[in-house]
Symmetry: C2
Subunit: 514 residues, 2 copies
């Protein structure tokens, strides 16, 4: 029997409760957390870029210091294999270090200087200088599907802290023990690096009320979220209904459409079938970039492709999903798909006897039947995917035109195909944040060029990315200083460029002194 | 008697109808305009950067070609003096040319290239390239107070077209003839530069329905607005309630608080009084950056300052406001101020006998009385301003802390004052988009460093500016291309950098070829 206002984690492989009880934050505790984050913000935002970079590096080191105990607890809470979690920990740590390097280098703040022209006619030109400054305390929601890389110490938290904001993380209730361990790494780093106590805080809870209180709190100035459309949209609406609306950077998933052009399969049936089967089933299909919908342009290799793909899927074992709720939704999605007219049940993979284990499923239909059932275009989170046969280029272009916003789109084709379908790329540009050619959408590279985002309903903020170094800009806003003396200016904008950063000096990028 | 579904302009200096009848766009006409803008977008966005730059330059030339007839009509519709309108036309033209230069230079699109590492372990690194692309057709609302520089060919329209978006402008009903003339310049430039017909369109109307239909249309992908809080907030709410929410960049005015620190007035009473009187009354006080609220830290020069300021205000003549409605609101605001406890009616300027002419008004009160009447902190659009006497640094800091979001804040002080009040700057950074030291907030410089924006309720989009070259970024979003062959890449991202733009190549800014 557990304590009132506490909750426990559930092992999705066994449906058994796991040890450890976690306090469901009440409205007073949330209020206190935001007040601490607000007080800390005034101190943290004034820390030097090097102090903030060192702090992020220190958090990374402290997470590593948690050792295998972190991976083991995480495995129990998520059913994700230890090897995957080890890789995800590496990604989490590298991400923190990448943001540290961005902060240390310093040019991300978009320093701009327009010097005065006192004798300009008819009116003098004043000295004006521009940079980005942090927004304030940010609420970050941990995601279930990446319990390390998109959760407590994930890309949102890393970019929030890198931008100079403080953070209150709402841990995902599916892995509260993992969240608490990762939070402990932050608390140690805060102490070691002499950062204010409220720089990072974790609140937990298995009710929507916790997140709602947090987003409605006047002290919170932005929201980072990765999860379902329902969850993200609810936070977006709450944030816009506040007396002071705030930006919500919600990444809400996607079907990640794939287009297989006529020449793509020649000599590559085996490769593409294997690659897609892997991409569909990776992490039990619980990736934001999981390819859930493919349009296959008819060719002489189509049947061979489906045969090979079916063999691959039949042979793949997938384990437990992250939670019982997710499994239930997945099963329901499969049932819905099967009720649709003209949908062929192409292949079923292997599953284990674990209670929340599911099998991969692929389906096949024609573009005509697909068009009749718009629900077939909706994401079913998990290792299922639907393949739609098209006969003409016009059908491919129309299918692309009918897409909503997605995170990615993928196109397979020969060089000739790609040139012949230039119009497809023109359409996809308007629909997604990332286009992949002859590759797979899963495996999101954390780098300077990454865009993990896209038009609504993939996100609530198509003008941003939640992965890669540009994610930092979500949590900053521009300010300009007019007619400041050098002593009053922040280091980034002082005449002698003490931070040695790139600046737009009277319209020219340079690292020069002014 | 005018035709049904048409409206006429009113001369605010005479309250007489002006010649010319303007169609109130109905829902079908708006639908057609958005459909044309959508069709044009697919062509316009693929134009070369040089074609777009040439087009913007051509629009500027065509506006100039309208000659004095434009200024004369504008003067009749707005009661703004011809000299002011001539200056504003210059600003409008320079703004178009500045955006042309930004597009021609090309680096604004934030090109980023991370090259592949095929042999990276455990998984290969793909080639990923990033740039900004235009959002789609944009709805722009002309503002009443800058009938040229913030209206049909204003900063919003210029930055929308520079970003590669097409635009449907809702003309402000206070100057429909001016709007139509400026629109004709666009139509000529479209023809001369061989741009698609729907690149720019003007719709007119004197009802809210016109703007509402436009913002609700699924083809519109973003909104630019300058005007009242009520108008901007209504569009923001409409846009968020759409099936596909879209960003609204609404600049909704501000009180632009001023802080006069204890040493500021020594030897400068005359200068500052004259400067503030000018800034308060410029354009009949109808500037977004009009200083409506000042905190005056007690010094031995305080009384002399108020005396001098009163003399200046008493001597200044202001003319008609832009519309009868604006005049009525202004008068109401003055009456509200006078009903508040402890508000001294400091000075009244001169007005003409024209029906919508108003006099400048300044008021004085104590911080104690100011705190009792929160309405005193609200903007009263027009040439009125309230001065609040403070006694202590604590009162100044508290007043700053109590501010809502504003476009600007201004601080007057000696070097010693500025250092002594460092805490004031720390607070103001969180409240405004631009901080001016020993200067005046009116006269917004159009340059690379300008931020004309600020936290809500000054705008609905604190992460952007509506003036200056950075305004272009409001109408673009990032996309990335993974594993593209060089031939498939847009020019900005091709290996040999044919546009010679700055790019972030594996994390290093350069103009190098890859």
């Amino acid at each position: 029997m557990h304590k009132e206002n506490y909750f426990q984690a559930i092992n999705p492989s066994t449906n058994q409760l796991l040890g450890g009880e976690f306090k469901i934050a009440n409205i007073n505790e949330i209020d206190n957390a935001v007040k601490k984050a607000t007080a800390a913000f005034d101190i943290y935002r004034k820390k030097s870029t090097h102090s903030i970079a060192d702090f992020l590096d220190c958090v990374a080191d402290e997470i590593l210091s948690l050792g295998d105990a972190l991976l083991e607890r995480c495995h129990l809470e998520t059913a994700l294999p230890l090897a995957r979690l080890q890789g995800e920990r590496g990604r989490t740590i590298n991400q923190l270090k990448l943001f540290a390097s961005v902060v240390r280098e310093g040019s991300w703040i978009d320093a701009r200087i327009d010097t005065a022209i006192p004798d300009r006619s008819p009116i003098p030109k004043p000295d004006i200088r521009h940079m980005l400054i942090p927004l304030g305390p940010v609420a970050v929601f941990g995601a279930s599907n990446f319990p390390l890389a998109f959760s407590v110490a994930g890309g949102d938290t890393a970019s929030v802290l890198a931008a100079g904001c403080t953070v209150v993380v709402k841990g995902h209730p599916a892995h509260p023990g993992t969240s608490e361990m990762v939070a402990s790494a932050f608390y140690k780093a805060i102490e070691k690096c002499d950062m204010p106590e409220g720089t990072f805080q974790l609140v937990q809870g298995n009710t929507n009320a916790v997140g709602e209180h947090l987003v409605k709190h006047s002290g919170i100035k932005a929201v980072g979220f990765t999860g379902s459309f329902g969850g993200g949209k609810a936070l977006f609406d709450l944030a816009n209904a506040r007396p002071e609306p705030i930006p919500v950077f919600a990444e809400m998933g996607s079907t990640n459409p794939v287009f297989i052009l006529p020449g793509a399969l020649e000599g590559k049936t085996e490769d593409i079938a294997a690659g897609l089967a892997g991409s569909i089933t990776l992490g039990v299909g619980q990736f934001c970039t999981n390819p859930g919908l493919s349009f296959v342009q008819k060719s002489e290799y189509t049947n061979q492709f489906y045969e090979t793909l079916s063999e691959k899927i039949n042979a793949i074992s997938t384990g437990s999903m992250l939670t019982g709720g997710i499994k239930k939704m997945y099963d329901q999605g499969i049932q819905n798909t099967l009720t649709k007219e003209g949908v062929e049940d192409l292949a079923i993979g292997k599953s284990s006897t674990e209670p929340n284990s599911v099998a991969a499923r692929i389906f096949r239909t024609t573009i005509e039947n697909f068009s009749k059932s718009p629900e077939l275009a909706e994401e079913n989170f998990g290792p299922s995917s639907i393949f739609v046969d098209t006969q003409t280029k016009g059908q491919i272009l129309e299918a692309a035109n009918n897409l909503e916003g997605h995170i990615t789109a993928t196109v397979f084709g020969t060089d000739a195909d790609l040139m012949n379908y230039k119009g497809l790329f023109d359409i996809l540009e308007k629909k997604v944040g990332r286009i992949v050619v002859n590759g797979y959408p899963t495996g999101v590279e954390v780098c300077h060029s990454m865009v993990h985002g896209g038009p609504y309903p993939a996100t609530t903020a198509s003008q941003s990315t939640s992965v890669g170094t540009n994610a930092i800009k979500r949590f900053a806003r521009p300010i300009c200083y007019q007619n400041y003396s050098d002593i009053l200016l922040p280091a980034a904008l002082k005449n002698d460029n003490p931070l040695s950063i790139w600046r737009l000096l009277n319209g020219e990028l340079s690292k020069n002194k002014n």
